[in-house]
């Protein structure tokens, strides 16, 4: 077990799978010579060359579309989209081709393509600070992974590269420098298995990606006041494993979902509905959600900070739920 950054864990997953499987190649804007806008692919061009680490024009539709076609043709493409905001330009490919292919053609062929893209923010204003995971998670036929830790990022990405299905692999720009323990050797993490990160009797906090870390920090502070939270990391949003959430809510009787997306029609809406159905009799308080304020993201630093949920908001909301 060694310490590694989220960025390096992803890079290692790519490197190991490219060494293991000749069919794996990377395509995207600035993934090669530049080394990746967020430096995730730095060094891979030198090791694997221009054939397998392919710079593309700024043309997201054909980046994703050609990746799907290459997957149909027997390869294992990794399409990197510079940010999730640009995935909207490739939406038709993701929605109408990747997620439909296996079903629409009667199960004759699938397209095992991995689309890697970071969500995130950082004074980038309205069009560069979005989080569309709920849109993608709404699609039957598309796997959506959104890891929070270096260990999960590596294990889920390696799993994605061995999957027979298209995978939307959503990273987070503010997590790339986060360091965590990563197991030695080859390992994968299955889709659709949530993880209990912390057990507590008073409230169940459900989260994923960067907000998981905020939730864990809040839980530690709450513990100092003798409020014990269970914190659950969803890890993949489709398939969505809510069994541990339901089990936990039956013990704690309270649930809070924390996401970075706008709460309207976000992941929290889906999760709250399912808790309401499967744990209705156990709830002592309404299921609560915390997410981004429903405005386009502003540029100005203090305004941007106001738009996102923080540790203090989680603490305050949990206390409200307990009173």
């Amino acid at each position: 077990m060694a310490e590694q950054s989220y960025r390096d864990a992803i890079k290692d997953a790519l490197r190991e799978e490219m060494r293991r499987d000749e069919r794996v190649f990377i395509l995207g804007e600035e993934v090669g010579v530049w080394g990746g806008t967020y430096a995730v692919t730095r060094g891979l061009y030198d090791e694997f060359g221009a054939k397998r680490v392919r710079d593309t024009p700024i043309a997201e539709s054909v980046i994703v579309g050609a990746a799907i076609g290459a997957a149909m043709g027997g390869l294992r493409p990794v399409a990197e989209l510079m940010t999730i905001n640009f995935s909207l330009v490739a939406m038709d490919q993701i929605v109408n081709n990747a997620s439909k292919m296996f079903y629409m053609f009667g199960g004759q062929f699938s397209c095992p393509v991995v689309i890697r893209t970071p969500a995130g923010w950082g004074q980038l204003a309205a069009t560069h600070s979005q989080s569309f995971e709920a849109w993608y998670a709404s699609l039957p036929g598309l796997i959506v992974a959104m890891p929070a830790t270096p260990r999960d990022a590596k294990g889920l990405l390696k799993r994605a590269l061995r999957s027979n299905n298209p995978v939307m692999f959503i990273e987070h720009a503010r997590l790339y420098n986060v360091v965590g323990e990563v197991p030695d050797g080859d390992y994968t993490i299955p889709f659709g298995v949530s993880e209990i990160k912390r057990a507590g009797r008073d409230v169940t906090i459900v989260s994923y990606s960067r907000m998981l870390h905020v939730a864990l920090a809040a839980a530690n502070k709450l513990a100092q006041e003798n409020i014990e939270a269970t914190v659950i990391d969803l890890r993949t949003l489709r398939p969505l494993d809510l069994a541990p959430v339901i089990e936990s809510v039956k013990q704690t009787h309270r649930a809070l979902i924390v996401e970075e997306d706008w709460v309207t029609c976000g992941m929290g809406a889906e999760i709250a509905a399912r808790i309401g159905k499967d744990a209705f009799d156990y709830l002592d308080a309404p299921v609560e959600r915390l997410g981004a304020i429903e405005v386009p993201m502003p540029y100005s630093k203090p305004l941007e900070a106001l738009a996102l949920p923080e540790e203090k908001h989680i603490i305050a909301r949990v206390k409200e739920m307990l009173t």
Binding site: V62, I68, G106, G107, Q108, N164, N165
Partner: protein, 343 residues
């Protein structure tokens, strides 16, 4: 270099005197065109009887393009086409029974009844599907062509679509990257004069589709799409060039759609006179004349061939009618491919 020399301009006499195929090959191309037409006429009838639903786009009048183009390719060259896909599927030798059953939404359909008219596919025949978002399949063909290049396989991929799709962004993104990557892609544009009901000159800034290929430095050629041998010839050349590593090739085939854009199109955008005039350029009748004149074909050959095609089309209808609808449990299958278990 753009090549605007049109095969159609080459004097027919010099070409037809030898044909470019044997008598048997010629009769086979003719048979495929007649099969497409009769298959579709039977489907059209079934549609009006309410046995086929949804959108159905008929290919009648354009048969020479699919038949000639696929005759110029190897059976393992990858085909990705638009939603007007019946002709290409039949020309690629997908079973008429399974195709008609697909139109009927039956369990025995080529896609188990889940795709319908616009989504015929059979990967065993490198027929990767009809796609129904205009232009959305062109990037897939770029990827298939890249996969062949990456694996050092001699396959080419062909992307097929209409003139209307040349105005959408994915067309331009695809041509650009295909050229930058120098992949063995053939772009085949069926210019049938209308994108749905909008005439080419009302939708495209340039009247000739090949001009758009020029923007990306892709060799391009125009061809009479109602001439099955000319189609075959330009495809043979394009495939040879692409296979040799010369990168993407572009073919613009001129034709005319006899039926509406899809079933139920009132066709207010064109006159009956125009349609009747264009029907005089029937690719099947024209080819029959050439076979009679230059290939010692006889009316008996055609009569026998038509009877055989009639039998195949009738059998397809019979098969579709008597096949069962999918089991209700099929609703839930095929959403995800089986996951690996050793990962």
């Amino acid at each position: 270099m753009i090549n605007t020399a049109t095969v159609a301009n080459i004097q027919p006499a010099t070409r037809d005197a030898t044909l470019s195929v044997t008598r048997e090959q010629g009769l086979e191309l003719w048979r495929q065109m007649v099969l497409i037409r009769r298959f579709e006429e039977r489907a059209e009838q079934a549609y009006t009887e309410g046995k086929i639903g949804g959108f159905m786009h008929l290919y009648i009048g354009e048969e020479a393009i699919a038949v000639g183009a696929l005759a110029g390719l190897n059976p393992d060259d990858d085909v990705v086409t638009h939603y007007r896909d019946h002709g290409y599927a039949l020309a690629r030798d997908l079973a008429p029974n399974a195709l008609m059953a697909e139109l009927y939404g039956k369990a025995t359909g080529v896609c188990k009844g889940k795709g319908g008219s616009m989504h015929f596919a059979d990967p065993r025949k490198h027929f990767w599907g009809g796609y129904a978002i205009v232009g959305g399949h062109i990037p897939l063909a770029v990827g298939l062509a890249f996969a062949a290049q990456y694996q050092n396989q001699p396959r080419v991929a062909v992307a097929i679509f209409g003139d209307g799709a040349t105005n959408i962004g994915m067309f331009h993104e695809s041509l650009n990257m295909a050229k930058v990557w120098n992949v063995p892609l053939i772009i085949l544009v069926e210019n049938n004069q209308y994108g749905m009901g909008t005439a080419v000159q009302r939708a495209s800034a340039v009247p000739d589709m090949i001009t758009k290929a020029l923007a990306y430095n892709i060799p391009a050629i125009q061809v009479d799409g109602n001439d099955v041998l000319a189609m075959r010839e330009v495809m043979l050349n394009a495939a040879q060039n692409a296979r040799r590593g010369e990168g993407p090739q572009f073919i613009e085939a001129h034709t005319y759609r006899w039926r509406g854009h899809s079933m139920g199109d009132p066709q207010r955008y064109r006159s009956k006179d125009e349609v009747e005039k264009m029907k005089t350029r029937d690719p099947i009748a024209r080819f029959e004349n050439r076979l009679l004149e230059y290939a010692r074909a006889t009316q008996d050959d055609f009569a026998r061939g038509r009877a055989e095609v009639e039998r195949v089309a009738a059998e397809a209808i019979e098969f579709a009618e008597t096949s069962p609808f999918p089991d209700p449990a099929e609703l839930y299958t095929d959403v995800f491919a089986p996951e690996v278990t050793n990962g």
